[in-house]
Symmetry: C2
């Protein structure tokens, strides 16, 4: 297979995702939300823009996060394979809980569809079960809306809830300082991010989803569809360890996600691991810039742990003991704010 | 205005909502979800089919519930008025928390849309703020997905979280017994239920949304769009009171919702209040049966409190003190299971 390459570089915006428009609308909405509940109804302790909303309620701190699978469902539909996105529903949410060091305890799913098909729902359920198992949380409820006038196909989302066991405190990134080590955990593929761009690239390159990218291995379609890895085991292994300063789930926004943790210092990613071939292969389909690739896809690293330099070996050992054997150092925290990838001469200032 | 009447009676199923198909698909999904987390990750204590999922976590019991506004958004779109459905997003969810006596503390919203329009998002935000105020909870986060290939217009949903303050226990209906009094609290209109049928009836009757149903009052469109009343004040006033045995939010399924509380005994609704004229007016548009009306719409009662007969006056007094002055007795718990409306010779066995 020799995919065609586009003349003009493809971007996330040109593929149909206008980040500025989304940001503008979200700001318009949030500008109208003023209400703060009385302290008897909980005390929000969140920092805006972080991965999860945190609130002190009764004798516990609860974390909540919500996300949808987005246009990856269109790939599931094209391939007639739904378990992967069922698993994603949970994984994308519990990974955001893992980013604040919260232990997942519950999940509720939301399925909006044009027609309820039992065979598809059964496959989504199979994936949901896998996601709950990897995220170690219970299905507390859900909503199935059949709204053919609003939804074409299936829209999948959910909300995950976490708490802080024993003496654990929220891990927000405020203790991150220059000299800390960045430990990266590999992703399992694209996860559920950048699919509007990825699908556009497949179209530009006239790629057959059933073809293989390499001589061996799965079809392109199944390679892209692979379910999101859960990083709950990573967070649980390190959240209570001394020297753990931050966690970052590299979801939509790629490496820019690191700036959600702190802007006091910066992240020098000078030991980025070998990028899985599917990313440069996609990149070549539309002459996408390195800058756009690293701020749209995870490029092989799905989760980053920030630990004090002195605790790096101990952290890697704790991860091994928890069954996470593919973690490795990918960079260092430095005084200058932002995110830098010197190998690609890339530098990002903020999150979005 | 003299709306036309359909020859063949309209039903919820004929309007496009196939309850059996939804139930079948949901069962197919749930049959695949087997995972139960270890007790260190929370202990679910829910009864399936109740209003909210309950879980013991750390030192608290947390309740979670999720719901979408459904096709009512199409009315908002037709009228270009979005604050009402923004308020609904919160109200429909906190009312389900109120049904298990949980105190709301947090809400996360989910907006899936084809295009983010700041003016619409601002109005949704205005409604969201009202909903949070009435539900007394904080906005903990949200997700805005722009997915024009999946959603046409806007799909609105959310998840609400509650807890049990002090010595309050979940109110599940298990203490309901024959002789208990049923206290009804009026609804503020259709709330966000039955809109697929309501919109179909408007179409059958060729009703102009800008016309008025009565000589005075709002247009039909605005009357139907009115935001869902919050019953959090009702639940908070009575959840800690002796003799409070159950709460029921009459959402989709109408009076059938009462059977979600218990099937050991039954509900005799022999003092149903005057039905607000919008319901019989809608009913006449499509010759809808009384049976279908009471199992699709709230028919004027949005929330029911079940208290021991001896505590009825005390409960009404507590509600008055909390500012709820329109509550009144609507029936009695009797030994025979099910729900009965003797005035209309109606009888329902279960929920769906």
């Amino acid at each position: 297979m020799a995919p065609r390459s586009a003349k003009r570089p493809m971007t996330y915006a040109r593929s149909g995702v206008d980040r500025a428009a989304i940001r503008g609308s979200l700001q318009a909405l949030l500008a109208r939300v003023h209400y703060r509940p009385p302290p008897t109804h909980g005390r929000p302790i969140s920092r805006p823009g972080h991965y999860a909303g945190l609130i002190d309620v009764g004798r516990e701190t609860i974390a909540a996060t919500t996300d949808t699978v987005g246009t990856k469902v269109l790939l599931a539909q094209a391939l007639g394979s739904w378990a992967e996105v069922g698993e994603d529903m949970v994984a994308i949410n519990v990974n955001d809980l893992a980013s604040v060091g919260a232990r997942p305890f519950g999940f509720v799913d939301t399925i909006s569809c044009s027609k309820p098909e039992p065979a598809i729902f059964a496959e989504i359920g199979r994936g949901l079960d896998r996601g709950l198992r990897a995220g170690r949380c219970a299905l507390l409820g859900g909503e199935t809306a059949v709204v053919p006038e609003i939804v074409d196909g299936i829209d999948l989302g959910g909300t995950a809830l976490g708490f802080y066991p024993l003496r654990r405190r929220p891990i927000t990134g405020e203790r991150i300082r220059a000299g800390d080590a960045l430990i990266g955990i590999p992703s399992s593929g694209l996860h559920a991010n950048g699919f509007t761009l990825a699908r556009r690239l497949l179209k530009v390159g006239r790629v057959d989803l059933r073809a293989r990218r390499a001589a061996t291995g799965p079809s392109i379609g199944l390679e892209l569809l692979r379910a999101t890895r859960s990083y709950v085991a990573v967070s649980e292994a390190l959240a209570d360890a001394p020297g753990t300063h931050g966690f970052a789930h590299l979801s939509g926004g790629g490496v820019r996600n690191l700036t959600r943790l702190t802007r006091r210092v910066g992240f020098e990613l000078d030991e980025w691991p070998r990028i899985p071939p599917v990313f440069p292969w996609l990149q070549a389909l539309g002459s996408v810039s390195d800058e756009e690739m690293f701020q749209t896809f995870n490029m092989g690293v799905g989760f980053v742990v920030i630990v004090s330099g002195a605790r790096q070996s101990e952290a890697l050992e704790r991860l091994r003991q928890a069954g996470v054997r593919d973690a490795r150092r990918i960079g260092t925290v430095e005084p200058e704010p932002g995110v830098r990838l010197p190998q690609w001469k890339l530098s990002y200032e903020g999150y979005a």
